[in-house]
């Protein structure tokens, strides 16, 4: 018979919890080299012998107070769901800092196991942690693990199972000194009079949190019959002072025990210092960031060209097969215009998306992106955004959905709301096909630079909007910046490719799913009512387009673009898919870009205005759903739609008209 056990992984940010989680459960959760990649708990399953083990990856936190949303998620899970064992994942290269969380986890009274992760790196640095002594002093078993190589994981599971099954429910407690201990016991006695409360929350833990003046803990005793009695005990001490004494005491314990368990916890200055001095330099910081980004886009174009040519060739071949005299004619059109024209026009851009994501993964894995956030902080702060919001903005280059979720690490609610609202302006991978198509067709010599300019435009609009929101609807000062800088690591080819695949494979699935679906609807609208010339002004697509055309005509867009933009709301790649269908590129083997170049309504200026419009006009359906979820408000969700449309229209209008005036062409 199988036995079931639940294990929660807790730990500081960036200690490799997700790596261990992935290795244990065989899942492929994203792992990043910056704090706060996991902001929502994730669960998966592992097996060992007769045990079926549910593993829960909690967000990384420095403590289990309620400082930000991710801390609340981690803490509520441990309290409410009561996992059988909590595995505290510790960065062995940085042992001392991690122990503060250990002292807090001890207070929950749940069985604990420590995973000394990244032990290989610690040993290379000469750090040796004595696990026997650890068990003796902390009464917590410790296991040596190397998550990235899968070392020690079976032992970790065995130890966790052993703790869950055999270990008596003991409290590993820190003594806080006579005065505070007296208060704690008084409170524990009082709380014990409410059986419901003390069954739900470990009494000692709740007492400690109350004494520390934790608002979240205070809410938990509201409505309890012992509330007044508890408050009477609390009135005997000053929470701020008590908290300081308790924090000191925790660090005293850590400092006293550290030499016993880790005789060689060495601290050295290393090459990271030198690199930090250069790339965060006052004058060099921002230019280095811009140069790296520009390089990434240029390289994306250069490296993707042969792949694109190959896919284009294959698509042309398929189109020729179905285009040459297939009967009945509508089937030929369905396969040629609908499927190959719609989905094929997206597949061509997959190499671009993958190469850009690969380059971003390298920048992230190396530890650079966290520094970029620090470099941008001064600029961000002056316009009213905390530097921390730069990380969600960078994640937005991949996809806005995880980016908006990543705002959970931002503590201040207003800071967080602003960061959410500006995120859709960060140009995600789904918009890249639109740029590659139009920049490649109309700016063949400078395509990389044009795309770089669009990304910078996105950042500029985001920053400008943040400034505007601060001045008007969300006044206030951003919280000062404080973030851990991960160590520099040499990214390995395998992990960078894995990250690229994690983020990029979604675009392939989308191409076969929502994009194909959208393209087929557009094909249907372009073919019906029965008997009309395909894609002509008399088709349904033509009718819808002509209704919308007056709206977008001031921007220089015609009805085909209006239809594409309408369906692009579902997902921005659909813009390209729809154009592929409407221009009917599948059947004659011609490419969409040559069809666009041949269209007399389109020129470089209009193309640029269109790219800017697609960048800014609407969060896609998935992004809107996550905005609703994270803000919990239809009002702000609606606001982001309206605001995006207004900004996109204004900027595209300016680009189009200034462009016509300056260049004299379209």
């Amino acid at each position: 018979m199988t036995k079931k056990i639940r294990i929660a992984l807790a730990g500081n940010p960036n200690v490799g919890k997700s790596t261990i989680f992935n290795a244990l459960t065989g899942s492929r959760q994203h792992v990043g080299n910056w704090p706060g990649v996991t902001v929502e708990k994730k669960s998966g399953f592992a097996r060992l012998g007769e045990y079926e083990i549910e593993v829960i990856d909690l967000p990384g936190t420095y403590s289990l107070t309620a400082y930000s949303v991710d801390e609340v998620v981690a803490r509520d899970y441990i309290i409410d769901e009561k996992p059988d064992v909590v595995v505290h994942v510790v960065d062995a290269t940085n042992f001392e800092r991690n122990l503060y969380l250990t002292t807090q986890l001890m207070e929950f009274g749940v069985p604990l196991v420590i995973a000394l992760n990244m032990s290989d790196m610690a040993e290379k640095n000469g750090t040796a942690i004595n696990r026997v002594m650890m068990k003796k002093f902390f009464e917590i078993p410790a296991v040596r693990t190397v998550g990235s190589k899968g070392e020690g994981l079976d032992e970790l599971l065995r130890t966790a199972i052993n703790e869950a099954e055999t270990s008596p429910h003991h409290e590993h407690a820190i003594g806080y000194g006579d005065r505070i201990e007296t208060l704690i016991s008084e409170l524990v006695a009082v709380l014990g009079n409410d059986p419901a409360l003390s069954a739900r929350y470990p009494p000692r833990w709740l007492a400690i949190r109350l004494l520390e003046g934790d608002d979240n803990a205070r809410e938990k005793i509201e409505g309890s019959p012992v509330r007044d009695a508890a408050l009477a005990v609390l009135a005997k001490s000053d929470p701020e002072e008590t908290e300081a004494v308790m924090a000191d005491r925790r660090y005293e314990v850590i400092t006293a025990l550290l030499p016993q368990v880790c005789t060689t916890c060495v601290r050295t200055m290393n090459s990271s210092d030198l690199i930090d001095r250069v790339i965060t330099n006052r004058w060099l910081g921002i230019p280095i960031f811009l140069a790296l980004m520009w390089g990434a886009f240029e390289l994306t174009f250069a490296a993707a060209t042969p792949f694109m040519a190959a896919i284009e060739l294959a698509m042309g071949y398929c189109a020729e097969l179905v285009g040459s005299g297939m009967e009945p004619a509508w089937l030929g059109s369905f396969l040629g215009d609908g499927i190959i024209g719609g989905m094929g026009s997206i597949l061509i851009f997959i190499p671009n998306i993958f190469i850009l994501l690969f380059l971003l993964s390298i920048l992230e894995d190396s530890g650079y992106l966290a520094r970029a956030a620090f470099v941008m902080d001064r600029l961000m702060y002056s316009i009213g955004l905390p530097g921390k919001s730069f990380i969600p903005m960078l994640i937005g280059f991949g996809c806005n959905v995880p980016a908006i979720m990543a705002t959970r690490t931002i503590e201040d609610p207003k800071d967080r709301l602003i960061t959410i609202l500006i995120n859709p302006f960060m140009s995600c991978g789904a918009r890249l096909p639109v740029y590659v198509l139009f920049a490649g067709a109309f700016f063949p010599a400078n395509a990389g630079t044009v795309v770089f300019v669009l990304y910078v435009l996105g950042i500029a609009v985001a920053i400008g909007s943040a400034w505007l929101f601060r001045k008007t609807i969300l006044p206030g000062k951003p919280a000062p910046f404080l973030m851990e800088m991960p160590p520099y690591r040499l990214p390995t080819l395998v992990t960078s490719i894995m990250h690229m695949w994690d983020r990029g494979s979604m675009y392939i699935r989308k191409a076969g799913g929502v994009i194909l679906f959208g393209a087929l609807i557009v094909w249907g609208l372009a073919s019906l009512p029965y008997g009309v010339e395909y894609g002509s002004a008399e088709s349904f697509a033509g009718l819808i387009g002509h209704v919308l055309e007056p709206l977008v005509a001031p921007l220089g867009f015609d009805w085909k673009i209006a239809v594409a933009l309408l369906f692009g709301f579902v997902a921005k790649e659909v813009v390209v898919g729809s154009l592929g269908v409407l221009y009917g590129t599948g059947d004659d083997g011609g490419t969409l870009s040559s069809a666009l170049l041949a269209d007399p309504h389109l020129g470089p200026v209009t193309a640029f205005a269109l790219m800017a419009f697609v960048l800014l006009y609407l969060p896609c359906l998935a992004a809107l759903a996550v905005i609703k979820k994270e803000t919990g408000s239809w009002k702000w969700t609606g606001f982001s739609v309206v605001y995006g449309l207004v900004v996109a229209y204004t900027i595209a209008f300016i680009i189009a008209h200034v462009g016509y005036f300056v260049t004299g062409g379209i």
Binding site: Y62, S63, T65, Y67, T93, N94, E96, R97, Y100, L101, Q104, E212, G213, P239, E240, E243, A244, A247, D248, Y251, C265, R267, M269, S272, D273, D276, R277, T280, N281, R282, G285, A370, R371, A373, F374, D377, R378, Y381, G387, E411, P480, F481, L482, M483, E484, M485, P487
Partner: protein, 82 residues
């Protein structure tokens, strides 16, 4: 030898200091403590630019903006030759 306290943001790269006092709200104090930044902890300044710094505390590197660094009062221990 420990000198009188000053805001962390006044330190120059390469200097070592001991945290004397944190002048911040409750929540922020608590957060700093959990990151290992509390009265008595030693830190060294890796780089500094107009008040923003990257400091190293117990082997971990933190980046702080000037606003944050102004809240942390430190006593400088020594100034290494630049």
């Amino acid at each position: 030898m420990i000198m009188e306290s000053m805001p962390l943001s006044f330190l120059s790269p390469g200097s070592d200091a001991t945290v004397m006092e944190i002048r911040a709200g409750h929540g922020l104090c608590r957060h700093l403590v959990s990151m290992g930044i509390l009265p008595g902890s030693r830190l060294s300044v890796v780089c500094a630019d107009r008040g923003s710094l990257i400091v190293s505390v117990a082997g971990t590197r933190y980046a702080l903006s000037k606003g944050m660094a102004m809240k942390i009062l430190v006593g400088q221990i020594e100034v290494k030759a630049q």
